[in-house]
Assembly symmetry: none
Homo-oligomer: 235 residues x 2
Amino acid sequence: MPKTPVWRAIAATLMDEIASGHYRPGDKLPTEAELSTRFGVNRHTVRRALAELGTLGLTHARRGAGVFVLSEPTDYRIGKRVRFHQNLTEAGRLPAKRILTLQTRPSDKDEAEALALPPGASVHVYEGLSLADGTPVALFRSVFPAQPFPNLLADLQFHQSVTKALAAAGIEDYTRASTRLTAKTATATQALQLGISEGAPILRTVAINHDTTGRPIEYGHTWFVGDRITLVVAD
Amino acid sequence: MPKTPVWRAIAATLMDEIASGHYRPGDKLPTEAELSTRFGVNRHTVRRALAELGTLGLTHARRGAGVFVLSEPTDYRIGKRVRFHQNLTEAGRLPAKRILTLQTRPSDKDEAEALALPPGASVHVYEGLSLADGTPVALFRSVFPAQPFPNLLADLQFHQSVTKALAAAGIEDYTRASTRLTAKTATATQALQLGISEGAPILRTVAINHDTTGRPIEYGHTWFVGDRITLVVAD
DNA sequence: GGAAATTTGTGCGTATGTATC
DNA sequence: CGATACATACGCACAAATTTC
């Protein structure tokens, strides 16, 4: 069993308390001295936990004043390794997915090109809704080549996780090759599914993921609710 | 003048040495003990600097083995993420800029915090319009601390380039600390300036740029017309 | 307005644990 | 196995910014 450092346990506790609403956006956390007493550790150990919350964008420290819980919208970090579940977990929110459709069908022109497949080759398509704390924050559609992953749809249904389903198919790791971003306004269908008004701002990302050999394995679109999500590109 | 912490100066030095190719991707950095001796500081101070490189994704530490350089030097200096930045604010592919306002005024709360200035400290503000083929594609506002750059407004007016104006003020190099992206809809004022309808989708980016000592020197917003621009983040 | 108390930030020193070589 | 190297944790002191009185 991996031993968990004390500072990590403290960070997890504080993240839980933020996620549960015990500390709300704008609230001041207890002082480092108070947290030291509460957890029975040195102030530096508390500071290590608070540093973690800070780099995750969950809190912000002001010298002389205190450490404050940041307000929404939630930052969603974008970079070489993007995992929706992991990101929102780190941000102290409860992630969930709802499957809308799972199907296998012939690829269209864009999909075949993005995945380097022959025109019309069979692909698996996974469409769903991402929620944080019960609120929809994004719609997504992931397209995978069907031939190398015969059982992917069943794995996706079971795990509800792209990472785990790909792992079951033997893909240990994958990285994002590119991300394109633009702004849109919500269509009527999107607005209904996301619980927003038609015409509300939407941040659309289009990404291609590669396995470690450089073979494209996922062509994904995500439509984020602009008012609920901020993407962060960390340099 | 803001005093730079020792660990930040050490982090900047190591980043320079990585960027210059003195340490190449895959290389092992000197041990913490060696770096402590070299810089004449405690090992914890070196660790604070290395922690910064780690969270920036430049290095990766392996317990018992060492600290290893991850990124290509080009990724840091002229690499993809920084090119992304240059495309945003430097108009690398945008043929024209139109200056809307150049002024010096007291900073608001957000600006002072982003630039690590005392509340209300004086800042230079550069607002303008970016055009491609005569069509407006983005509005931008860049905010700089006024005190270190007395002639910045004149330099901006002359060069119409942030990089060149900062170079004239003695800033040889600067890097983007973070970029945040979200979707908005155009306000009436923005719609008028950009030649679009009120409520049209807007991609907003917010970025903070640091000089090589880690001091924030630019706080920039850009509002892209969603229908006319797609941003690309290449990893 | 100013002094004092509070609170986070930086830095040093020490000791011990754990993974790698 | 021993030596090396990073990780964790405690303690102390002072600096810098804010808040309180």
